[in-house]
Subunit: 213 residues, 3 copies
């Protein structure tokens, strides 16, 4: 009845990849575009962050060995293209934001751990690569459809990811015996802040904002 | 009198690289720019796609060993800069579109084969890398000069490339004994659809278009 | 009292990395942004060019082993965020432009030498990678905050870098016994042209400009 940890991780990976692709369909639907570009953007959003991480780590790009990520992104993008008006329904959009939140939280911590296990620029490197894993695909998507990237958005998206990666990297450095607990707490932290942003419109506090002059 | 296959491939490579550089000069000429930026954009357009492919494949970037691609791009960009009004003549522009079409067709199939021979994420990986080889340089060019990328264009440019790569990868997977025939048919398919787009204004069909709402 | 060559190089590296981060804070301050994005842009501007170079060279990304570059970029970005009005003071901005000029000159020549020592696409490859080392981070920064990239600016920024890299690569090819002298002369050339641009408003000459039509 209950999922094992491995099954849970796989389920989140699959649903999260679909959520990434759906977010790309929604972003693409702001412009006049076509089914092929929707699939391209869906795939890039889903695997662009992890690909950038693996290129920087100089390891094999993950999806060349776990191709189901690409298949899921392709199929989800096609479904999203056909059902774009469904994707825009308020309730579905909200569910997608939460699935996306859970996925970026998990991918961020996985990215941090991958870089940490390779000893890549400890301790800052794993934080940077965790952030890139989670939000890199979305940034490339935004650049390609020429809308302001999520880095310029007032929404709390990359910041909770950065906090989660920093918390986890700090634990890995100082209290390595608590790695498992730290992973769960860090993922929960990202999801919680995303939840506050999605449902309570929590935004970047004023002291942390830089206004143009 | 007739070219061998190797000579034909080399000729297309050289002419195609020049056509890529000329397309960059034309794109750059939409903005106020300078000779150096024209050369940079020409080189990036010519070798950016193949470089991205090689970085993802984790193999040596092709032009570090076949530097004549860069030389051709540099010289073509300089010629294009000097003769920009010539480049804009209708008949020359049309020839350049056809040379470009032949080149993206060939580079796409070559990219697909390179990834396939390395067993990179079969069968989807070679399709993705074939597309990246052919259109990646043009996408980076468009991002750098901040015009809507070719992915957002109504023109049939990346789509025929994707169809050709998909056809060739399908043959490699199911009928590997017909690799050579498939390469020729796939290249012809890309060129034919590009021809319909260039001379008959064939565009993305309505059912495949996503309209903004 | 006097610095050794190694100490001088380290000092320029540290100050230059800070100057890159400050330039990112200033660029970010054109938009409504936040402290996290400022740090991200500061780090990307500081290490993005060298990272791109190392990915193309297929060697370990430099900052994974010299992490102080990232620390300096993070701390400088935070200081810049807090003191943004200070950064905009005319005299500080001018000093920052000169530190930046010295840094891009040195990083460009270092990048050229790194690629040359690896025999990467001689002789054009080292020139390209020298340019990427020096200006790549700034170009990525501009793309991410969606302002016209420095490649489209009338300012002489990438051009002096290209001239310096070309001069140094030419010496490495033809007069390898004068490598040290060439490095100094090439760095001086970059700084001198940047100086003419900063203080005398020297711009791209008319014959080298391409006007939109």
């Amino acid at each position: 009845m209950f999922l094992t940890t491995a099954e849970l991780i796989n389920t989140i990976s699959v649903l999260g990849t679909a959520a990434f692709a759906f977010s790309a369909v929604l972003a693409a639907s702001e412009k006049k575009t076509d089914i092929f570009t929707v699939v391209v953007l869906g795939v890039i959003t889903a695997v662009g962050g992890g690909s950038t991480r693996d290129v920087l780590l100089d390891v094999t790009v993950f999806w060349s060995e776990e191709l189901y990520y690409v298949w899921i992104a392709v199929v989800s993008s096609l479904i999203g293209f056909i059902c774009v008006s469904f994707l825009k329904k308020r309730w579905f959009h909200t569910i997608n934001l939460y699935v996306d939140a859970i996925a970026i939280a998990m991918f961020a911590i996985q990215g941090t751990e991958k870089a940490w296990s390779l000893g890549f620029g400890l301790p800052l490197g794993p934080i940077m690569l965790g952030i890139i894993t989670a939000v890199g695909g979305g940034v490339i998507r935004d650049v390609l459809i020429q809308r302001p990237t999520l880095l310029l958005s007032k929404e709390l998206y990359a910041i909770p990811v950065a906090l989660g990666c920093t918390l986890h990297a700090t634990t890995l450095a100082l209290l390595p015996q608590y790695t498992d607990v730290s992973a769960i707490v860090s993922i929960a932290l990202v999801i919680y802040i995303r939840h506050l942003s999605i449902s309570k419109q929590l935004a970047v506090p004023k002291w942390a904002t830089l206004n143009p002059v």
